[in-house]
């Protein structure tokens, strides 16, 4: 087959289709399709959302959530063998003894460390451990912004209503209350540490619309919001000299039968394990995007493999909303090299329109994410009005030139530099041409059940950030994930500091919970060679794996 001829990053046939987009742009500039009614939303969700489609899920058959549905990819890991053998592993001599162990150094974990320190836990009594580098996380990749109701016409009440409406009224109400009340405090905290948010000329925050929102509430740092927030917090963390380890994933917890009392670390380079003893533990390991639920590509970090959920479940932590998965409507669908990567919702917040193959605006651009994603899938696979890529993917256009048209020339480069840069690297100028999008696996809506302070049903175990469930119900809104990490990172840090003031003692270090877990697997008749946590996805070439031998 002859190589495709590319013009401005697109093959010739796609370039012809772009003409349809160019032709209709001037008529669409002042037109927006009507938002869907609740009934219309429900119809498209039932028809096209991956969570509602048959298959892809099964019941969990062991542990506290027995009978609950979860994606097959998650159940596979919940019902898997541990990486270590509880009968033979030596765990009695801890290599580290700390008051507070924090696992995961994204926005949640880093915030937790700072607030624990602010509330009296001495730096040397904290240890933050990271699977990769401190900061490697989905937080770092958050583009669009952080919600906080801080304008005159807005209020925490409206933030509350938007959040639970977007979450299908399944959110845990007291946790949402904490989220919306603390949001302005988080903005104050970040600003006082030196984070730079987009400002209007009068010094007020630039605030933009977002899917499912009733007010302009989105605070951004260009389209590098998570990067800016996290690098400031990480710098502050470093300046205080809080101890941390990198390239040391946690592969198992230790317990005294009831409480979590420590953890087993694994040195990725040498293969050696280390034992940590701790009085309180905050688990902030993020979500599960790299499990590629239902075969979807993902926006997520390389390390987003649900490690924390698996370990927490083994010690008896309760999960919730395990059956819901967030697919972000605008994942890149072309070119091949960036399939699945995130195109921030800010593109639509600034006026970018989703279009079908005829250049028609077919959906209100700012529906909640699950509804918007379903509408894209319907357009591509039921109405057959998608654009097919050279590798057989289908997608819809996102009309990005409209952003400069609506906001003035230069808006894309100034406010969306990450997006502009990514496409430029692959020869596409998004100021002049639309980009092709299709839903991509984005977020773990559910997770470990928690109270407004990040506490779980296990004494001495807290969770914060994407690993937790409840605050987003069955669908998260934009700008509530960085906020979730910041609010509950801070709260768990404060809460653990208070717990430590009650002077708890180090507990016994055992792997009894693994013995119980293995028995549960056996009793449920689950015979498997699967092992978890997996730590990383497997992307190596098949031909190489087929010939691979393990010598050392």
């Amino acid at each position: 087959m002859a190589e495709l001829k590319f013009i401005g990053g697109y093959p010739e046939y796609m370039r012809k289709l772009i003409d349809n987009v160019n032709k209709t742009r001037s008529q669409r500039k002042d037109y927006t399709p009507k938002a869907m009614s609740m009934a219309e939303r429900e119809e498209v969700l039932k028809l096209c959302h991956p969570d509602y489609a048959p298959g892809g899920k099964r019941q969990i058959s062991i542990g506290p959530n027995t009978g609950d549905l979860a994606p097959n990819e998650v159940v596979d890991l919940l019902e898997a063998n541990p990486l270590i053998d509880p009968d033979t592993m030596q765990i009695s001599n801890p290599d580290y003894s700390v008051d507070l162990l924090i696992i995961g150094g994204g926005l949640a974990g880093t915030s937790a460390a700072l607030l624990a320190n602010d509330n009296g836990v001495k730096t040397e009594n904290i240890l933050l451990v990271n699977k990769l580098r401190h900061g490697d996380s989905n937080s770092m990749m958050a583009q669009g912004g952080t919600q906080a109701a801080d304008r005159e016409n807005d209020s925490p009440i409206l933030h509350y209503i938007d959040t639970i409406g977007g979450g299908h009224f399944a959110n845990k109400s007291d946790v949402v209350e904490a989220l919306v009340n603390d949001a302005p405090l988080v903005m104050e905290w970040l600003s006082s540490l030196g984070a730079i948010f987009d400002r209007e000329s009068d010094g007020s925050f630039v605030e933009k619309s977002f899917g499912g929102g009733s007010r302009k509430r989105m605070h951004a740092c260009r389209d590098y919001t998570g990067l800016e927030e996290l690098r400031v917090l990480r710098d502050e963390f470093r300046c205080r000299g809080i101890p941390y380890l990198e390239y040391y994933p946690v592969i198992e917890f230790l317990t005294d039968g009831n409480r979590v009392t420590g953890a087993v670390l694994y040195n990725l380079e040498t293969g050696e394990y280390k034992i940590i003893q701790a009085k309180a533990i905050i688990l902030a390991t993020g979500g599960f995007g790299r499990l590629h639920i239902r075969g979807f590509p993902t926006t997520n970090h390389y390390g987003a493999t649900a490690d924390g959920v698996i370990l927490a479940y083994r010690v008896g932590a309760k999960l919730r909303d395990t059956e819901t998965v967030q697919y972000h409507p605008t994942g890149a669908a072309f070119p091949q090299q960036i399939i699945g990567l995130l195109l921030t919702e800010k593109l639509r917040g600034m006026g970018g329109q989703p279009l079908n193959i005829d250049g028609e605006a077919f959906v209100f651009p700012l529906e909640p994410r699950d509804v918007e994603s379903s509408a894209f899938i319907r357009e591509c696979y039921i109405k057959e009005k998608g654009i097919v890529t050279p590798t057989g993917m289908r997608g819809v256009w996102l009309d990005t030139p409209l952003i400069d048209l609506k906001n003035g020339a230069g808006a894309i480069e100034k406010e969306l530099p990450a997006m502009f840069r990514m496409y430029k690297r692959f020869d596409i100028d998004m100021r002049k041409d639309p980009v092709l999008v299709f839903p991509t696996l984005h977020y773990q809506n559910g997770g470990v059940d928690t109270d407004p302070w990040g506490r779980t049903n296990i004494e001495s175990l807290w969770v914060a950030g994407e690993i937790s469930g409840g605050v987003h119900g069955k669908n998260r809104l934009m700008g509530n994930s960085t906020l979730d990490c910041l609010v509950f990172g801070r709260r768990s840090g404060k809460s653990t500091a208070e717990y430590l003031k009650s002077n708890p003692q180090f507990g016994k270090l055992t792997l009894e919970h693994l013995k119980k877990y293995k028995k549960m697997l056996a009793d449920a008749g689950i015979k498997t060679t699967r092992k978890a946590p997996i730590l990383f996805p497997e992307y190596r070439g098949k031909a190489v794996l087929a010939r691979r031998i393990d010598i050392f």
């Binding site: 770092m140 639970i164 405090l185 730079i196 010094g203 239902r294 070439g541």
Partner: protein, 252 residues
């Protein structure tokens, strides 16, 4: 109907297969040759450097992070056969090319200093205290050439030396802290760490808290929204749904 829905999900998974589980050799139309740390491999054309290395059999435990150009983990130094120049790139955001000789940088041992942001004054004084070596910049522009984000690194260092925090913050804002500037710098600077200090100084001292935020913080302190939130929490789903569907939406 149910059958049809199942097929959609299967179709989508089928279309994504090469991205999620790797390309099947039989589907590969064009091959290229690359050299990874001196070893030659045949890989499909059109992959990123990162994907090409994985196809060749590498499993990353370093030099791989967000895979989307935001984290700076996958800094790569390469040369194309026949060219004398060493180039720099992010492995996740750069196509592998035929006859590319590459190595990844697993870690940047650059110096950074600790400071108390509350005790510094924005401007050159802060740099003289925390990073006095910033004055050693030779003005050779190697940093700018090495930057995979195309940031004018040399210019923001000049701004730092002039004490212009606002410009230093603005120019350096898209920095992903990969460390390539520091690795290429003949004056042995750690530019990206200086930029971090400059941005924090500007963010803290150059941009005061907006009045609307201060007002909201005061209202929260006084408990202005407490009783209404408490009332909402007690409502049943149907009542909440009514409030949700009838709420007014702010226009553009």
């Amino acid at each position: 109907m149910a059958e049809e829905k199942k097929n959609i999900m299967d179709e989508i998974a089928g279309a994504n297969k090469s991205v999620v589980t790797g390309i099947d050799e039989k589907d590969i139309q064009h091959w290229i040759y690359i050299s990874i740390m001196g070893k030659k491999y045949r890989v499909p054309a059109g992959l990123t450097i990162m994907q090409a290395m994985e196809f060749a059999g590498y499993r990353f435990i370093r030099s791989c992070g967000c895979r989307a150009g935001f984290c700076g983990a996958c800094t790569t130094v390469y040369r194309i056969e026949g060219d004398y120049r060493l180039k720099t790139a992010l492995a996740c955001q750069t196509r592998a090319e035929d006859r590319m000789y590459l190595v990844q940088i697993p870690f940047t041992p650059a110096q950074r200093s600790d400071y108390d942001i509350n005790k510094l004054t924005p401007g050159i004084e802060a740099f003289l205290k925390v990073y006095p070596e910033i004055l050693k910049c030779l003005g050779c522009n190697s940093c700018t050439k090495a930057c995979p984000q195309d940031i004018d690194v040399m210019e923001y260092i000049a701004c730092g030396k002039r004490g212009d925090m606002e410009k230093m913050a603005g120019i350096s804002f898209d920095c992903i802290q990969c460390g390539l500037c520091a690795i290429r710098c003949p004056a042995e600077l750690a530019q990206y760490n200086y930029a971090q200090l400059g941005r924090r100084l500007y963010g803290k001292y150059g941009e005061p808290l907006p009045e609307h935020l201060k007002k909201r913080l005061e209202e929260l302190k006084q408990g202005k929204f407490e009783s209404e939130l408490k009332r909402l929490i007690t409502l049943q789903k149907e009542e909440l749904r009514k409030i949700y569907t009838s709420r007014d939406i702010e226009k553009e």
